[in-house]
Symmetry: none
Subunit: 126 residues, 4 copies
């Protein structure tokens, strides 16, 4: 469900926050849905529970998640519906810019890049 990599330089809690935001944006996580428990996520990703907890707390402060005492955190109930495709494409932009910059610096043209992206995504779908 989530993909946390401690070696990228991006803090783990920030990776998680961003990924939760995206899952909510696409309605793979809907208002009222429970998130994985702090301990469970910490176990499966071999990360300290506090690191997960920090991400959840900050998303709660943002209003994206809600806490219910003694229960798992849930997606906030007062959120707008699934974001439109243009909005979600907007959220994709940073990853695209990052890719394009790398390609430019590697002198790889759009043909090569598009081919590599297509292959990766097809392999993933399969």
């Amino acid at each position: 469900m989530f993909n946390l990599n401690p070696n990228t330089g991006v803090p783990i809690y920030r990776q998680l926050m961003e990924q939760v935001r995206r899952m909510v944006s696409s309605s793979q996580l809907k208002p009222g849905d429970a998130l994985p428990s702090v301990r469970e996520l910490a176990m499966t990703h071999a990360v300290n529970p506090m690191t997960i907890s920090k991400a959840y707390s900050m998303l709660e402060a943002e209003g994206l998640l809600e806490r219910q005492r003694g229960k798992a955190m849930t997606v906030a109930g007062n959120l707008p519906l699934q974001e439109s495709k243009p909005d979600r494409l907007e959220r994709l932009q940073p990853a695209i810019e990052n890719l394009a910059m790398a390609a430019r610096q590697l002198e790889l043209g759009s043909d090569d890049v598009l081919k590599a992206v297509r292959e990766h995504m097809e392999k993933q779908d399969a």
Copy 2:
């Protein structure tokens, strides 16, 4: 030439190191070429000179750059030629994986992603 963003969580010096490596990998920076001076880069990107200097020093320790007293740092002279396209595509993988993960979490299909990437890269070329 470079693109340094202090807000991503990735340390600035690591962003710079990675970007220099890519430019060398593609021979946009060739053995003997001078890099921008620490001061210049620090000015244009509003970054502390020590941060630039640290990146350069670590690349020097890696053998990618050479320092000549009183002159700008240059790309090391004993480097292999431009990397082959497969090698450079390999360097592109992390950015592709990052993009694919974001797309999956946003529930955007490969068609939409490829279209967005193509548009971004064309706009950039223009």
Copy 3:
């Protein structure tokens, strides 16, 4: 400057957040002013630095404080001026309600309460 009590049941980081908000509200801390460093505050109050850091981080997320790399945190520069007296009295309400509830349950009348408050505040001023 601050008053942190670990025995009230109110989390320390929340006590600190509330007190910083009040100091800013009254302009005892003005935009641009530096706050005590995390380590300093942790030392003087015998509290773990992370506890202080957590309060500061959450106030930053709120927009009340700003972080400058390598420097102490400062009060955000884009804040409105000192709050009006009615606004500050509004902030005082929870403490007043708490006092009134206690007085009611202790069957102490407003005369006794006002006298006690006056005495406490005069002693404090002296």
Copy 4:
């Protein structure tokens, strides 16, 4: 009768314990008086019954309350009479100190504070 606020950070059971102690201290609850049932209090304050029960049990352990099988809990019969006014003023101190600290940080003088307290208590009496 009681005032339980889940958002202050103070555990609910501690809020309740403190308030019961004050009611007993002022003889608004006298030895032999029955307390509201766990279920009733839990309902009216939208709190988990176990939370109420825990507060009652701890007050029982303190000797302030007595449990009679199948009946409501009552105030213990062997308690001293109503506390003297100085004793009750002593119990009020924490709330006063809290108020004075808030006022100081908000730069509100004793005149303003006393006025606000008086107004609040009069409104409450009315």
